[in-house]
Subunit: 219 residues, 2 copies
């Protein structure tokens, strides 16, 4: 296979990565809305979107493997393909975590899960999640290998929000009961992990751009 | 590179995978003991083991990439290498989850985190985690591609245990306070995800053995 052809196919692969990222971004936005509005219908839609996202992920993985297997191996190309595979792996987890958020909303709808005094924090967790995913998407589109640099701060922002949910729960008295404590703990974990995967993706963008971040070991 | 040489290097890679699996298995055993015994010293040891496990993972990944890049590409070989990379990714998460368990123990030691009436369940979660990891390790060692088949049941067992922790927390009254509810929820999640990754590994064993499980899409 000619190198020009390889790069053309890689570009098309990256386009699909962007498409999958957009899907996952939409899932978390809708899941957060479903959670805050106690909207069972919207939660169902998020959950129903899982198989399509999973199929797109499978298609991208298959093409990435074909691409790597059919060309003359150049070490850098292989790393790029593997970076793409790791990004689809991150994206699949992000999609599943969005579905988990929707499932929590679904289980209680039409009753709200999030106590009134925690709504604002959850709203902000949703915003940070959305912003991280959008930034990743833009970085992939622009082959912006420095994307990871300003991601750590946004990730810290999520950790601070999750931590503040915990602190709020520990401030006596927590009047919302044990079930709400379990749900809020799980939700915090879902948003936190979602953000971690977005950051992980940003690190892989460097490989798509063919550049290794200084001091950032490849994983 | 000759095929015989490729397979020899692959064998050595798999030996290292077994070694890393053994490390991760040990981490979760010790983390569970630290948790149940409120043993800060043991918890510290688990946490201190992180960098060594991460370094071993990095070394395996590097060698897997070299192996893939330096040989004539055969599609099957590439899948095997990628399976190895996915297993190290699973193992790294399992190691981190063990450390999270140790961190919960550490934060409260010498006070116990697990209420007396939940000790037995946590003990069983630790046993299931250990059994799953040991089974995976044996499957890798034996190139046993059918390993995944009897893994789903063990994974279900973990889900049932985590679910029973939740049910216990929701049974009125939960006398241990909100902080214990948060900790038990997080611990349940850590063990659950650890088991998920062990099952994921078992699915990848099929590729190391050069065999695709019927109906089990490659991921």
């Amino acid at each position: 296979m000619m190198r020009a052809n390889f790069h053309k196919q890689l570009d098309s692969l990256v386009d699909d990565l962007v498409r999958l990222t957009l899907t996952v971004e939409g899932s978390m936005i809708e899941a957060t809305t479903a959670l805050l509005d106690a909207d069972a219908h919207l939660a169902d839609r998020v959950i129903a979107g899982g198989p399509a996202a999973s199929a797109l992920r499978g298609a991208i993985d298959g093409r990435a493997l074909d691409l790597a297997a059919r060309q003359q191996p150049v070490a850098g190309d292989l790393r790029i393909v593997i970076a793409a595979l790791r990004m689809t792996s991150d994206l699949e987890r992000m999609e599943i975590l969005s579905e988990h958020v929707a499932e929590v909303a679904r289980r209680h709808a039409p009753n709200p899960v999030v106590p009134a005094d925690l709504r604002e924090i959850v709203q902000r967790m949703g915003s940070v999640a959305q912003r991280l995913t959008a930034r990743t998407r833009q970085a992939i589109t622009a082959r912006d290998w420095r994307a990871a640099d300003d991601f750590e701060r946004a990730d810290d922002e999520m950790d601070v929000l999750v931590e503040s949910v915990h602190r709020r729960m520990l401030r006596d008295p927590w009047p919302h009961g044990t079930e709400a404590a379990i749900d809020m703990t799980l939700l915090g974990r879902y948003y936190e992990r979602y953000a971690d995967h977005a950051v992980s993706m940003a690190h892989h963008v460097a490989y798509l751009a063919g550049y290794e971040l200084a001091g950032q070991p490849w994983r």
